[in-house]
Symmetry: C2
Subunit: 328 residues, 2 copies
């Protein structure tokens, strides 16, 4: 298959997921709970996680149609995390639109998040068939890790000496565990062998790590309009990203002082973003991030060796490459 | 069995639940997530919902030991709702101690609630055995209803014309659905027949309605020290409880004006609680509430006709009576 065919496939399946997402909340009441839920789902997004479920099912020889509800479930779980995280981070914008708690209020957003998670389990159950225990276990494990990861991320706000190791543990839990779970659920429901499930799950985990470092990178190198968030937002908020931690570990003298200032002041002024971007370039941490992304992407692809069909590997390769090249 | 034996049984089983609740979070990290979770669990509570699971298992001929993890799961779910509800209600105290978001902050409490819910599913899965789909479905249905009920309750804050019917729908979802779920899960795991499961679930639903009206009643007639919350708190906050809605529907002239004032001012001053208590007495709504509690308690007990063993009915009768006589 050529890249265009993969894009076509992604888009076709994404639209199906989109349709079920809309149907899932069409007739639910009360509006005070579900209108905000519909709002956050209408803000779009790549729907990457559901597609990971779908492709993982395909990769082990299963049929797309057996995992649409499960793929909707992971998207709902993902949106639950976004809604609650945005309250905690006091974020104004998400996907270029107002965050839920800014459009409504904190209480509405807390409850909408809870509702999203609840309905996620309802949808997951629809596709579980004979594998309810394994699938719900994998999903719940992913959920617990996401909560732990978010807690670690919040800890970083008040920790001065965050190391790359601590950072990796955090993103492993906050981001990669969910990618891994999507692939596990897809492979389980697709009827994969234990070996295949393991291979596909490892793909998810490693691509998840690459994805998060890429996200950190996009924050400083992305195009504001396409990215949907303010460029340099992580620096403005003083977030300990891969780039920042790496820069701090490499910098000396005056450069180091500048970086310590970011920690001390809990962030920087927007007009200073460019100065720090140049510092990142000078210290080579943008290149470091790119190398790291490549490393985890390759590791992800290597884990797929056990898959039999070339087509299945190809779809994941295309996905991995699309993620590296993504602009938002 | 005599009432003392039932109290002994309740206490013995409650302690076992308590022990598992502590063990469940002993070795989890990070502390930033699980210390707040342990705090809220350490504030105690009646552990009524886990005991409902345990007694329901017993009532259909099952063994206590097969549902300890499931009973811990419902208590975790219950605490998840308390933690999130307390943020939304901006409540200061719970069980006589600081609420989680007051002891820490909103973000910590949001995440602790999420963590409680996640681990609830983990614990539920431990006991599911061959009934994972039914049990997880019942639990998830209960969870969704709790979210919807909380949303309806929040709607009441800005609705002037709340009727007793709307109130009952709200408590059916916010409180009774969870009681029903506890009984369903217990009866399912205890190996009950469909008829038995139905009977025990109906007991839970109706006792849940009685429990919530009793809660509204305790708010005005309870002893502050034993109740753990400020007496008249619902009036102070302008909550539309059974008593308030009933009073508003019965009052005329000056009495009605006084009640409308509560709505207009979003509550009353603490020193006016006694005046409103006398008004409730004058209008007979305290007696109305007591009659309603009796009605639903009797309905709950009647649903148990299909249970074979007298002992099993007795334990539920004792529980129902304890709930009516409770002071907190």
């Amino acid at each position: 298959m050529n890249p265009e065919s993969f894009s076509f496939l992604y888009e076709r399946e994404r639209k199906k997921v989109e349709k079920i997402l809309v149907e899932a909340f069409k007739d639910r009441k009360p509006d005070s709970l579900y209108k905000p839920v519909k709002y956050i789902l209408s803000t779009g997004g790549k729907r990457l996680r559901p597609l990971l479920v779908i492709f993982s099912t395909k990769a082990v020889g299963g049929n797309f149609s057996v995992v649409y509800n499960a793929s909707v479930a992971v998207e709902l779980l993902h949106n639950f995390t976004l809604v609650h995280d945005d309250i905690m981070d006091n974020a104004d914008k998400r996907r270029g639109m107002l965050t839920l708690h800014k459009k409504y209020d904190d209480s509405t957003a807390i409850l909408a998040g809870d509702g999203l998670l609840s309905v996620a389990y309802e949808y997951l159950l629809k596709d579980c068939n004979g594998k309810t225990k394994e699938v719900i276990s994998a999903f719940t494990k992913g959920l617990i890790e996401v909560c732990e990861g978010q807690s670690l991320d919040k800890d970083f706000e008040t920790t001065d000496n965050v190391t790359i190791d601590k950072y990796k543990l955090m993103i492993m839990k906050k981001t990669a565990a969910m990618f891994e779970m999507c692939c596990t659920v897809g492979a389980l429901l697709g009827g994969g062998s234990p070996k295949e499930i393991k291979a596909v799950s490892l793909f998810g985990k490693n691509i998840g790590i690459a994805f998060q470092i890429q996200d950190d990178l996009l924050d400083i190198s992305g195009d504001e309009k396409k990215f949907g968030k303010k460029v340099g937002g992580d620096l403005i908020e003083g977030k300990k990203t891969f780039l920042f931690i790496k820069a701090l570990s490499k910098a000396k003298g005056n450069d180091k002082k500048k970086l310590i200032k970011v920690i001390k002041n809990n962030g920087i002024k927007p007009q200073k973003v460019n100065m720090y971007k140049h510092l990142y370039e000078k210290l080579g941490v943008i290149e470091n991030a790119k190398a790291e992304i490549k490393f985890y992407t390759n590791r992800a692809l290597r884990s797929l060796k056990t898959l039999k069909k070339e087509d299945d590997k190809e779809i994941f390769s295309w996905l991995a490459n699309s993620l590296i090249k993504r602009i938002k």
